[in-house]
Symmetry: C2
Subunit: 217 residues, 2 copies
Amino acid sequence: MLLAPRSKIYYITPWPLPERQTLIRLVQAVLRAGVGLVQYRAKQASTRRMYEDAQALLRLTRPFGVPLIINDRLDIALAAGADGVHIGSEDLPTNVARRMMGPSAIVGVSADHPAEARRAERQGASYVACGAVFPSPTKPDKPVIGPHGVAAVQHAVTIPVCAIGGITADNLAELSEVNPALVAVISAINDAPDPYAAARRLVEVARTALPHRVFGP
Amino acid sequence: MLLAPRSKIYYITPWPLPERQTLIRLVQAVLRAGVGLVQYRAKQASTRRMYEDAQALLRLTRPFGVPLIINDRLDIALAAGADGVHIGSEDLPTNVARRMMGPSAIVGVSADHPAEARRAERQGASYVACGAVFPSPTKPDKPVIGPHGVAAVQHAVTIPVCAIGGITADNLAELSEVNPALVAVISAINDAPDPYAAARRLVEVARTALPHRVFGP
């Protein structure tokens, strides 16, 4: 599933976490708009809330064949039966997460630099996410690595690379040359007046600006 | 292990979470003082911090044969190989926690009233914790159920019952008649000028005021 998502747009839910019904409407909208992956991220909520959110989101993503990835919390992913986890440097080590999730789950890892990315691949990561590609409204203090920073990570690993940070429909084409396997989008969808329209435009721009690589004759 | 802890005193780590070295010194002290169980509770810390804390605490508890229980976070318990988890009403459901932890792990559940306690036992709880027995400095808004509230829960279940909330060496004897299987202590140890001495006194008072029940001829 991961290596052939229906689109390169990787949607991440907003924080602070909105109410359940708002969250559901957002995810329904981006799924209809054609995103390829959904990540649920909820640092401050109770475990029960996260578990119930994950169950509700899986009921939405399953019919679309779109993987649901849980940020950080392997307990939530395992309890709800999500498709994978995304872990950062303050979360469990990659090798521990891979062992706990099993060989077929998606284990995404944040790795902004080539050496981190290589280590993540060696320890069992399914993909690495690197950024901030562009200045990010969600993480304003994060160093900007630019498209060339993504290219450097891409040269270091054989697994898919996800570009993240400040990506919008207007700057997506700046990634054409690097052409990452995935692009994560948070603010450009969640802060848009019409999240469905914003996601739809991103999916369409990605389709032309970031073509799937074709192998073989 | 759980049904025959070396003492009825169930120590819970302080929050907000102190630095690693302070935490280690506290747990070393209470282990030397003779507590029967240790619970690690860290709501606001990063997953990596909790994982590393749990690993460090297990190195302390293992030589004493004292179970280490992780509050709420099954991912931490599973990753570090802790002896069990303690879950509250805002955490994973009891039956889900039991399934994930396996049949031999300790799964403790907060259940302040008989009906909740019966449900927890049915769903696989190893013990239930009920309170606040006395007014609690850590949870001042929690209703006080008193020793008779503990007795009511004890009559409802066959699994061990842990009394929690405001318990000190000075009021422990008020629980003599009810004689719960375990008594959880937070402030009376963590806020004491000498946590070792406080834990030691609690262990000694518990030994006489709350005798282990003896079965058989």
